[in-house]
Amino acid sequence: MSAPLLEARAVTRRYRMPRESLFRAPPVLTAVDSASFILERGETLGIVGESGSGKSTLARMVMAFETPDAGQILFDGQDLGQLSAGDLRRQRQRFQMVFQDPFGSLDPRRSVGWSIAEPLRAIGAENRAHRVAEALEQVNLHAADAEKYPHEFSGGQRQRIAIARAIVTRPELIVADEAVSALDVSVQAQILNLLMDLQDELGLAMLFISHDLAVVASICDQILVMQHGKSIEQGRATEVLNAPTQDYTKSLLIAAGA
């Protein structure tokens, strides 16, 4: 059996807090505490947990914005922490991210087409205009929208643009960190449907991070529950939702009204 697309092995990330006293070591916050999970190709793993549970830090490590203090993140069997800076940059086209804030994730001074083409420029791809147009149509926008600027679009449309940028390199994995949390409920549904359609169409795997259990339940094959930086439960979505083994998962489900 080949390696899973993405695997976290006992990943730990600590942050040093500001010193409280000159004579004591600065306090350390353990944001992620030996968390583990496995994401197979083409599947969606939802990570749930309350704010401060380490979900976003885990996502940042998957994106290799930060390196774990202990443990490994394995993408397609290779440890991201062991890659050289150049190798890592070349691998980045294979995993892309959709951010939370549709108003902050696009440079206001750059046209939409410019922003979507950015990952293509990074790898020196040919035929950029064509691929940008294709990506825009895949997210149900128009090829002509490439000329416009972010302020001409609504939040939902901007999130589509952000998704277009994420899929333009034809990645194998999309990390979506609270990608629909900033949107209206009706727009949320549209974006979730779009993500699921794209997943079928392109065979993407998705790491879907959300504090909203209902959203995760609607889109994910697998669910990972996090609490205080620890991964406390991973299983098939139906199993975790219907027969949780952990008290914390049960209380999350009750809080969500399930």
Partner: protein, 273 residues
Amino acid sequence: MKTRLPVNFLIGAVLVALVLGAAALSLVWTPHDFAQMNIKAKFGPASSTYWLGTDQLGRDVVSQLMAAARNSMTVALAAVLIGGSIGTALGLLASAIGGWVEDLVMRIADIGFAFPALLFAIMLAAVFGPSLTNAVLAISFINIPVFARVARASANQVWTREYVAAAQAAGLNRAVISWDHILPNIGAAIIVQATIEFAVAILAEAALSYLGLGAQPPAPSWGRMLSEAQTLMYLAPQLAIYPGLCIVAAVLGFGLLGDGLRDITDPRLSRER
């Protein structure tokens, strides 16, 4: 227009337009040759020939003021461009690399800040001799830490934006991101600072020329006109007043324009109007 332009911006714009207009006009036309002496007409009163009279050597004051404006603008422009480019580049670099490099660059900038600017210019003149070029270099140099600080502070903010994270996720290196995203998004702050530093540079040039370390005769300069008029204060006070007013107008104009630009580009920083 939806919002009214701030008053300081309008006043600044008018003053700057006057000074720049006079400087530009002097390139093609002045009422008289500014260096043309006419001893018979020295200390002449304001008249239809000599609008603001003549100085101790019978030179036309208006023509001198106009030519001095050009001189002053050139020095300020060169100094702000040189100092601003180097300072902004250093600030961007510090922000992009972070860590000890950032600390080092900023601590050096702090030292540059703490060093009295005019003292440095005098030192430069003492070593390399007084000249306009050295004045430009001195003023450029004192601008570097100012721009380094502004650029680094603004850049650090932009680095936290999600579109920068997206660019990193795309696999771009920090140099490309600095150029593509950081610089365009700190442009407003840099332009505001440049306008304010333009005012500072005009004042510095006037001060250096007053001390004899800037423009050398016969090149006209407000600062030098002021120092020459100083000994004649009781005889012809207007000769000191005119260049003085010009310096005030130029410095005030660029200062207000910079403040106004800041109010327009960053409403959060503006005071209640």
